[in-house]
């Protein structure tokens, strides 16, 4: 059971990391080429740059979309490390065993919140599928926005793993 979970987490981590590296690289490549092409056209009046810029007019919204992808993938990996930003003045003063109980309570609460958000974002995507018309690179916008439910799904799962790990700590088994 535990080794299975560890394995799932490991594979999940690899997928997330690969996607994260791809998304961030896209963000850099497209934002940089946009800046350079625009500078070439506006500052040096090179017509070719403008033509190229027009042919990749989707690159700017695409780069901005990658911010959303990076956010959710990064947040999910951060959940795995249990390093989310929090108001943490208790953590420095509590005894380890009370800390475990605190972590268990918190992970249950987070599973509830992120699970509800997963539901909310699935509802949202359903609406988008019906009414949305916009698209990036010929792929309709809602498909790109799938990162939101996908992200909440990942984060919920990661909180679930955290919960189990803390539970194992409490019962004395090694996770």
């Amino acid at each position: 059971m535990i080794s299975l979970l560890n394995k799932a987490e490991l594979i999940l981590g690899k997928i997330e990391k690969t996607l994260l590296i791809i998304s961030f690289s896209m963000l850099v490549i497209f934002s940089f080429s946009n800046v350079i092409l625009r500078a070439l056209y506006t500052k040096f009046n090179i017509q070719f740059a403008n033509t190229l810029l027009n042919s990749i007019d989707w690159s700017d919204p695409f780069a901005r979309l990658m911010v959303l992808w990076v956010t959710f993938l990064g947040a999910s990996l951060l959940t795995g490390d249990n390093k989310h930003i929090r108001i943490d003045f208790l953590g420095h003063f509590l005894s380890p065993s009370i800390n475990i109980i605190r972590e268990i309570i918190l992970s249950i609460a987070c599973i509830a919140v992120c699970g509800l958000m997963l539901h909310a974002s699935v509802e949202y995507i359903k609406m988008e599928m019906e009414y949305s018309t916009s698209s990036i690179m010929g792929i309709s916008a809602w498909k790109w926005q799938l990162i939101i439910p996908f992200g909440f799904c990942l984060i919920t799962f990661r909180f679930f793993i955290l919960f189990l790990k803390e539970l194992f700590k409490l019962t004395g088994k090694k996770a």
């Binding site: 690289s25 940089f32 911010v67 990076v70 990996l77 929090r86 003045f89 958000m117």
Partner: protein
């Protein structure tokens, strides 16, 4: 039922539930009360993908993490040592200046103490500075320079408040410099009092250390020049600087390998970004509700009942923000508190740029404020000293910081003067 849920949520937040989850829970509760579908939250979160300004956050963070790899911190210290090491209290001044520089370029994400503290602390001890002085100096350095470009809190503040980011960077320059100057004077005074030997100035060492760091030292000035000359926006500067740092780190200094360490740097920095932006996304969902529910207006009515003057309001703001700053990290604080404060400050006639600077400097001080300022814990872990020792070690620095905060707060033209003439 609803009040019970609110109380539970507050307790969970105080015992350490991740901030983004707390905000999402609050947003969902709000929508539930208003009987609106929670699908409204993902709609607001999508705004993360609609603003060009937000693109600069992953870019600058990555640039900072990249700089923290390899020998940049060593080269930086060597250069500032050869530039400033000759004066009394020289090494202290060196430490403060290089910390401020490093905090600005790494976006104030807590790397400064980890990257520079470990180098500076032993050398300060070696030069016979007292342990507590050295500890306090390095810890305080961790949040110095927060108002200089391209610091992330400034960008985030600009995004949330709608204040022009380029203007905010200009506004933050003199106040940040004032605080740095006062702390440096304290270091000079201590150096003189302890009669610490100074190393003589050497032009050849200055030249050779500058040559070594020639690709890195100009980075903040390049960003400044690019933005203020109108050549590029902050976001454009961010993507250019990322490519620039990638080139110098891989080709000039050969410290980063594209295959072995680059993926790790991307992942580490983007985890940080994910942590900040997921809170921003959640806050976008919440502020909507807050605005709908007239929460700021209610607070305003309440505040107007107890304070009547601008000065009184600023004083309460200072105290309130120091408390917030030592409980919460600066990013969550900006996202949660700024939308509440702005209508208040407006009604008291405080200039938006001045408010921004006061807000940022104030929260920076919160980082070092006992009992729970985060810098105290980072420094305690990195320098292997007890948190209690850090409380007393940082106290004189905290007092100086608060004096500069008061000057900055009650002398608005220090913040608004430069943006005024550069317009």
């Amino acid at each position: 039922m609803i009040p019970v849920l609110i109380i539970i949520l507050v307790i969970l937040a105080l015992i350490g539930m991740p901030v983004f989850a707390c905000i999402l829970a609050a947003a969902m509760l709000g929508l539930f009360v208003e009987d609106i579908s929670t699908a409204a939250i993902p709609i607001e979160m999508l705004r993360l993908a609609s603003s060009p300004i937000l693109m600069s956050i992953p870019l600058f963070t990555f640039a900072g993490y990249l700089l923290a790899e390899g020998g940049t911190s060593k080269r930086l210290i060597r250069f500032s040592k050869s530039l400033l090491g000759w004066m009394p209290g020289g090494l202290g001044v060196v430490a403060l200046v290089s910390c401020a520089f490093f905090t600005a370029v790494t976006g104030a994400t807590g790397i400064t103490i980890i990257a520079l503290g470990g180098l500076l602390f032993p050398s300060l001890i070696q030069e016979h500075y007292k342990e507590n002085f050295s500890l306090g100096l390095v810890t305080t350095g961790g949040s110095l320079g927060l108002s200089f470009p391209p610091s992330l809190p400034v960008i985030l503040y600009g995004y949330v408040s709608g204040v022009n980011i380029e203007q905010l960077f200009i506004a933050g320059f003199l106040p940040g410099a004032l605080m740095l100057l006062l702390l440096c004077l304290f270091s000079v005074y201590t150096g003189k009092k302890l009669k610490i030997k100074t190393s003589p100035f050497s032009a050849s060492e200055l030249l050779s250390s500058f040559k070594e760091a020639i690709w890195e030292v100009p980075i903040p000035f390049l960003i400044l020049a690019g933005i203020y000359s109108g050549f590029c926006t902050a976001t454009e500067a961010a993507s250019v600087i990322v490519v620039y740092i990638l080139i110098i780190k891989t080709l000039v200094y050969k410290e980063i390998c594209l295959i072995t360490n680059l993926p790790r740097v991307i992942i580490e920095s983007m985890k940080m970004v994910g942590g900040i932006l997921i809170i921003l996304g959640a806050a976008l969902g919440l502020t909507n509700y807050l605005v709908d529910a007239f929460v700021p207006m209610t607070i305003l009515e309440f505040m107007k009942g107890i304070v009547h003057t601008k000065l009184g309001f600023l004083l309460i703001l200072n105290i309130f923000l120091i408390i917030v700053g030592c409980m919460m990290d600066i990013f969550s604080a900006i996202l949660i508190v700024v939308p509440l404060i702005i209508p208040l400050a407006e009604s008291f006639g405080i200039a938006p740029l001045h408010l921004g600077v006061v807000f940022l400097i104030n929260l920076a001080i919160g980082y070092n404020t006992p009992p729970v300022g985060i810098n105290l814990f980072i420094a305690s872990a990195r320098l292997k000293r007890s948190v209690l020792q850090l409380y007393s070690a940082t106290l004189p620095f905290l007092i100086i910081s608060i004096i500069s905060l008061l000057i900055i707060t009650y002398w608005p033209s220090l913040s608004t003067f430069l943006p005024g003439i550069l317009k």
